[in-house]
Symmetry: C2
Amino acid sequence: MTDTQGEFELIDWIQQRTPAHAQVPIGIGDDAALLKFNRNGESLVTVDMLLEGVHFTLDTATPFQIGWKSLGVNLSDIAAMGGRAVAAVVSIALPRGRAWELAQGIQEGIDALARQFDVCIAGGDTNTWNGPLVISITALGEPLGNGPIRRGGAQPGDWILVTGNLGGSIAGKHLNFIPRLEEARLLQEHVALHAMIDISDGLAADLHHILDESHVGARIFAAQVPISSAAQAATDGRSPLAHALGDGEDFELLMTLSPADAQSLLANPIFSTHLAHIGEIVAGKTAELIEADGCSTPLLATGWRHSF
Amino acid sequence: MTDTQGEFELIDWIQQRTPAHAQVPIGIGDDAALLKFNRNGESLVTVDMLLEGVHFTLDTATPFQIGWKSLGVNLSDIAAMGGRAVAAVVSIALPRGRAWELAQGIQEGIDALARQFDVCIAGGDTNTWNGPLVISITALGEPLGNGPIRRGGAQPGDWILVTGNLGGSIAGKHLNFIPRLEEARLLQEHVALHAMIDISDGLAADLHHILDESHVGARIFAAQVPISSAAQAATDGRSPLAHALGDGEDFELLMTLSPADAQSLLANPIFSTHLAHIGEIVAGKTAELIEADGCSTPLLATGWRHSF
């Protein structure tokens, strides 16, 4: 709020670039935005804040990528609930001196992803300061199909499926991933998901979130975990499997559902994104990794750490 | 995301302190929150980001006050739309070393205000970093009565009313104001508001927002502008009236409505908060300040600047 003229210009510029949206009769330009929701007035809402030096650096990510990622992480959360994204609001602190250049690139990145999924940027708060770049996005969505899919619905006997290939996201995918909204929509249409989460902390850590909330255990078959080419190419001494289990920011969907529904999806794919059967939910509270030789080891909730 | 253990503890702590809310079947603890809205599924949403060194300093504001203010500015925006606040989500970047102490105080400040207006803190994203304190809140609400009150509805002949007393907020009010949600609710019940805004940039600047959006002009009667005791006590050489017109962060409601509705409110108060008739909307595009001697001068949209 210290560079008022510049901020108003920025907001005007953003407003001009924001297309009209039938579900947002009042968007940028008033005290608050008005959202109309289609289905019984239920709204999903999620927020993520990205910090320069923590979640990205300006040396290794373009402003466009930062904008894309900052919306993408939120859309991934809406997808993880089995929802459809409707709108988002953006607050941002721009480093003085580079504010205009950064804001333009970030807006373009946000806009590109928003258009892809028909998401309305319904409002924002733009600031300049002497600190690092900060961007916080709140996304709003609405539930689809069977309603929101929570972490706590996994049942013993469920199969565990995951989209995409895992690990090594830091090599690039974390800046240009496609949130799995379309896959979530199709899954909601075709099967009864029991539990779902997006992989942000890493497969092992996020699986543990499901297990903890559902009060169940799991067996993961090491040979069936889909490993990304980035994880296979890693040269840091950790195995590709360790990357696939432990790396964060894959932004893939990890879900549990009945064996019958899972087999149906695997036999008759409903989308082109790779879908892998990586394990099963069991009674109890332990998570095991079953290796190719049949040996089992505890699967710990090893998280991930970015290191720039 | 670099201090994972501490963040999970913080989130748990916040979750434990967050009461259940009938309109939020899914709150903190899943990928996204689910909000149920009562009235035709319409949701108001607004976001504001507060930055250390820009909107507050840790020398002059307590963490409790920062938390209170960060929610308050958003609730003031919901009030300005004539809405009821339902929920909010909070993203925060905490300076490493003071993270826990700051987070506790901020949560307490947010919680105190949220409880006062039955607002559910429905989610959040907590981070620690080596930068200054950043807090961004998105508030969600629902329209009341006649639906959302916008900036663009002022009509020539309308009376201009304002709640409270204006100016000198920097002396303290900007950290402990009560957002005018209750007044907004009662106004929506009793009269047909034409336009409304909350005073964040200053009476003159925010009046100009209404005039610009409504394509009208205004006459403001200097002698009728309610001046706060803080503005009267200011010793910086600017007059109390200049403070009342130009200072920001009053977080009062500035509204226009028919003379009949305005007279009814003034004759039969519907709340104890002071309500003043400060001017009228006119055709044209000019804003004039009518001084006590009858002379008129242009009323410029002089904004405000915090200077710590």
